[in-house]
Amino acid sequence: MDSSQDTDHTDHTDRTDHTDPAPDPHRPDTDPHHPDTDFIRLDGVEKVFDVRKKTGFLRSERRQVRAVDSISFTVSRGEMVGYIGPNGAGKSTTIKMLTGILTPSGGRLRVAGIDPSRERTRLAQRIGVVFGQRTTLWWDLPLIDSYRLMHRMYRIPDTRYAENLDRCVELLQLGDLLDVPVRQLSLGQRMRGDIAAALLHDPEVLYLDEPTIGLDVVSKVRVREFLRDLNADRGTTVLLTTHDLSDIEQLCRRVMVIDHGRLMYDGPLTGLHEIGESERTLVVDLERELPPIDVESARVVKVEGPRQWLAFPAAQSAAPLVARIAAEYPLVDLSVREPDIEAVISRMYAEKATS
């Protein structure tokens, strides 16, 4: 831990302490060396790769690729943060630096006060990593054998191992699967098995890379529920990369958007809509077919018989608009549709690319 840390929170430095209260929705805005608010801290972190491209027989050209370009952010203990961006944006590179298997080319990076690349093995005891597209489990061994190896690998005390295993088996419904070789598990079962494997050693941070990729709806819901409970009950800090924005909508209050190695946005999900100048849609059912509704603060985008679609800025309240329409038109029913975040983000990318 940082020696200059604030003294009134030192009790949280105990790694076995899971009595932390549920995360505060208003992130405390205290001094910059706080061990809880600075649980993960990046200051101007960069990663530059030398990429060699073949230009002919035995000839190659060296080119530098800036996979991560001066990224700074902090994550508090117990936060659940979505980390999103298109393919090749630098998400995986960031995660690799956070786990210590990749050394930053520049800047400063700390996870739980540890410099990951210098003390990778010590940090490994405190973090859990789950990849949607790979497995940490041993393919030809029964699920339980993988857990036994984890038990030894992470030197988990026997009682704690037994407790954690029981809890994961119950919550992730793994009871019938423990004796099944991993290669025979379905994708959803294997994913649950992988999540359990990442949590047996009580990690304080969990990195999830596409945890719901390829899962069916029921499995997705189950995984999300488990993660939400994990975060609420144990205060585990979660950093989640995903292409499925409903993961973020349902799990994360805060989202970071990265593209071309740069942090484009860091804030609440709602703010992302404002920045992307997104619009919400009001769907109105009238008593009969009428010409497009005429109100100042919204525009009609589509008419289909008695049903009309009106777009209005996402940041604006729907109430006055609804009141106006109800007063002037024969209204039967209405509903408000939230904007598609995917569209918002792609619009954001397009804007930054042209500017």
Binding site: K96, R120, D140, L141
Partner: protein, 269 residues
């Protein structure tokens, strides 16, 4: 010793894994026995022509054949150990997962390979030698001490073999496909371990070179120990050479490993 328990568990799972391949083990024993018969008759003809070739009499030469067939899979002269799996993990990128773990990559694979070697010593080592003993009169020692000395030499041979194959596996980080390097390594091992002909029988400078290379630690050295060619201070010197190769090659493996792991991450995933 938490780490000791982990690596013991890994070795045990390596042993169990190979133990489940029963058909492969039986097929291996059969192949070793057939090759042993062919080689033994060839050696008999050769030693008839050149008695005392390489300092062995005919009985020793035939015994050498069966020691070689017994050790073949233990010191993995033809490959087929952990390296196949490791190369596959490098190729698919799954190796990144191994790097997230609080364990040492080299020690992990060494434990797994030690488990494999232990199984193959029992499963594929004993039977061919016993079958050879039924057909031929073998010059095997009767004292326990020599057998123990042999086991130590085999253990060191497995270490050297592992260290060599670890380098082969790591090459996949650069070539993306380890097959070419693997084939070269197997060829070198077949020739320089003394599998085809005892290195003692190699003439002149080639013989000097062959006996100085690390592959001699795989088969020639343990065979010589069992045949009673290395005793007293000579035995200690033999161990020292094997151990020196093991330490040097493992150290090179660590260096290459740290260069390789810096590379792995570029390949995405």
């Amino acid at each position: 010793m938490g780490a000791g328990r982990l690596y013991a568990a890994v070795a045990a799972s390596g042993f169990r894994r190979y133990a489940t391949y029963r058909v492969a083990t039986a097929a291996g024993v059969f192949t070793n026995t057939v090759f042993g018969l062919i080689l033994a008759y060839t050696y008999i003809a050769l030693w008839d022509e050149r008695p005392g070739l390489g300092g062995y009499d005919q009985a020793q030469a035939v015994t050498y054949v069966w020691i070689g067939q017994g050790l073949l899979s233990v010191v993995a002269v033809m490959g087929g150990g952990f390296e196949d799996e490791m190369i596959e993990r490098i190729r698919t990128g799954d190796i990144a997962i191994d790097l997230y773990r609080p364990v040492d990559l080299q020690a992990w694979w060494l434990a797994a390979d030690a488990g494999r070697a232990a199984f193959q010593l029992v499963g594929r080592g004993v039977l061919p030698m016993a079958l050879g003993g039924l057909v031929f009169r073998l010059a095997l020692p009767t004292d326990v001490g020599t057998w123990l000395a042999f086991l130590v030499a085999v253990l060191l041979g497995v270490l050297v073999s592992f260290a060599l194959r670890y380098l082969v596996a790591l090459s996949a980080f650069w070539f993306m496909d380890g097959a070419g390097v693997q084939q070269l390594a197997v060829l070198a091992a077949i020739f320089f371990s003394g599998l085809t002909l005892p290195l003692n029988a190699f003439p002149g400078a080639l013989g000097e070179l062959a006996r100085a290379l690390p592959w001699s630690a795989l088969m020639q050295t343990p065979a010589d120990v069992l045949l009673g060619e290395r005793t007293g201070s000579g035995l200690l010197r033999t161990y020292a050479v094997q151990a020196a190769w093991a330490v040097a090659l493992l150290a090179v493996g660590r260096l290459v490993q740290s260069a390789a792991t810096r590379r792995v991450v570029v390949q995405g995933g």
